[in-house]
Amino acid sequence: MAKELTKNEKLIRDLKSITDSSKLKDDILSGEKVQLFRCAGSGLYFPSDYLEMWGRKYGLGLGPVVVSECLETEWQAGVAIPKDIKSPTQIMFPLKQGNHQVDAYIVKSADIVNFQKEYQFAVLIFLDAFMEKRAGIIRDKQLRNKNGRLAATMGVNGMHFSSIDMLANYKI
């Protein structure tokens, strides 16, 4: 059973929580720390104003509840192959809106600059409305997934693309 705190101990605990939170506030206001948002599904980060600008800059067409903008693969649907294929990059598993939860994170500003790999930012919808960047990123992941069958599907017509490099060099 937890030890019951004395009146003095409770006072110190409450005071500590106030000073800690005000220190955090000071750090954010001074720019030493910054608040980011993180997609719970992909682990990618969103800018500080993600919540504030929801529906104006971010999340257009995604409804009033703030969710992650990140796309993910719809493995259950079949590989989409167009009849009038113009490029092999058109062949891929379909994408879907993940609608994952976003969590607030407070990180050191210096860390964002120093550790770009650690804080990977998501490609935002308003910067990539036609999915040129996002589709390419996810398609690479689909090709690398050995259980995903995309590479095998690509080889149906006598052309086997076992790697992305081979696919990149192939032209119709």
Binding site: L71, I81, D84, F93, P94, L95, Q97, A129, A135
Partner: protein, 114 residues
Amino acid sequence: MKVVMQETVSIAANSTNSNVVSGQKYERSPGDAVGAVYNTGSASGLRASLNVGGLAVSDTINVGAANRTPVVPDDLLVDEWGAPEGALIQLQVENTTAGALVYQWRIELVEIPD
């Protein structure tokens, strides 16, 4: 009597499916009926248009990115259109993005009593 068709289709990147209803049981209206189309997309970037019996019922309309089985009436595209007996129902879907997307649709046909 009411008849219903419902299906999920993958639409490849930068391509158009000229009729997602093609091959369905009620691709042609089984009798004089009033219809409604409900649809959703897995992400934004799909556009749909409806033709019935060779006549345009709707212009090309953006499809919502609800990413779910169509909910009645929330995911309505267009309703109260007439489908004479034998008329071909053509639901054309265009993917304007560089990534493949999933299109889910539901068509309800309510027969008009004689």
